[in-house]
Symmetry: C2
Subunit: 204 residues, 2 copies
């Protein structure tokens, strides 16, 4: 079974145990002949795939009344895999979603590492540091690099832990954020697991 999670920059495939990526800019979906179960947050790619019978959009099986219209399908699918927990998907944006008793309770969006670093840099060249993921969260900073690192990471941490729920980390920067959320479970294949669950539940 071939699964595909389509983002703004890449097609992320899972073929059994094998996971690989193709660039949205260069990959041609017409070439694929097998059945592919996909989700996509990329509107342009979604429009192209509509006409291809072997590309099955799993978003069509989601009951949207539990979510909201502009919510990314990747967040929805990830939230299907958790009964009780707070899911942090750390990519170009960081989405944080709470699931209680299998039900999506709401969530928020925080800038990813690159976007936030640019944000500090744009305020002043004096703030153009990379983030220190090894900083102590229990000590108020007394140097500039830690002052912005704490501003980015500890604020997110304080909010996330206030929910007192198990934390699940996924996305390209999951391992990096594990340094901050030390008790979190890292699961880089959360979205594929959600997709497999839809396929099972609807016997697709």
């Amino acid at each position: 079974m071939l699964l595909c999670d389509i983002g703004n920059t890449s097609y992320h495939f899972l073929d059994g145990e094998l996971s690989f990526k193709k660039s949205v800019a260069s990959f041609n979906p017409y070439k694929m002949k097998e059945t592919i179960y996909y989700i996509s947050v990329n509107q342009k790619v979604s429009n192209e795939l509509k006409d291809l019978a072997n590309w099955i959009n799993l978003a069509d099986y989601i009951d949207m009344k539990f979510y909201y219209d502009t919510m990314g399908i990747d967040r929805i699918v990830a939230s299907l895999t958790v009964e009780n927990g707070i899911i942090i998907d750390a990519g170009s944006a960081i989405t944080v979603d709470v699931v209680k008793n299998g039900r999506f309770e709401g969530g928020f969006i925080y800038p990813g590492v690159v976007a936030m670093q640019k944000s500090y840099e744009n305020i002043s060249p004096a703030l153009a540091y990379s983030f220190n993921f090894d900083l102590s969260l229990n000590k108020l900073p007394k140097n500039s690099q830690d002052a912005i690192s704490y501003g980015y990471l500890k604020t997110l941490y304080s909010e996330v832990v206030s929910h007192k729920m198990p934390i699940i980390l996924t996305g390209g920067d999951a391992k990096l954020f594990k340094k901050i959320f030390k008790d979190a479970k890292v699961d880089e294949e959360l979205i594929f697991k959600g997709m497999q669950k839809i396929i099972r539940n609807f016997d697709i």
Copy 2:
């Protein structure tokens, strides 16, 4: 007595009760003949003012061993006014500084409203919303505008209130952030008060 707080874009004067701003780009400090007590985070302006005998730099009276080298003088001076509290200076950057028993404990830097909005916008045009300062902090969002507003504001809120200290708001966006920090005291002249304190203490 004429006081002046110099930032990256403006000279902010206080003349008795009267406060006014002049643009860094167009104002000529050589024109001023009276004595001016100033602080400056603007390195270029600081260098110019060194040669002018009537411009008195109050930074020269600060004992830096309680602070750190790259810390903005405005944060230092604001922290002089508080015995126990957490100071939020909301401008192009948001600085958050903790003072306990009159001593600076450390602090962090968070992006200001404009910088953070650009950050979301750069991630995706789908996140190009202005922030909703009237959002409920007790409810996880279920729409995109609140999802980014919560990401920006509630994370900061959770961290700040975790310190369980009186909150003092200053800076150009102080009144806006009062909507989030409802129990905070707004004091837009905190830095001038700190400058007056230095002048009194050192009998300048």
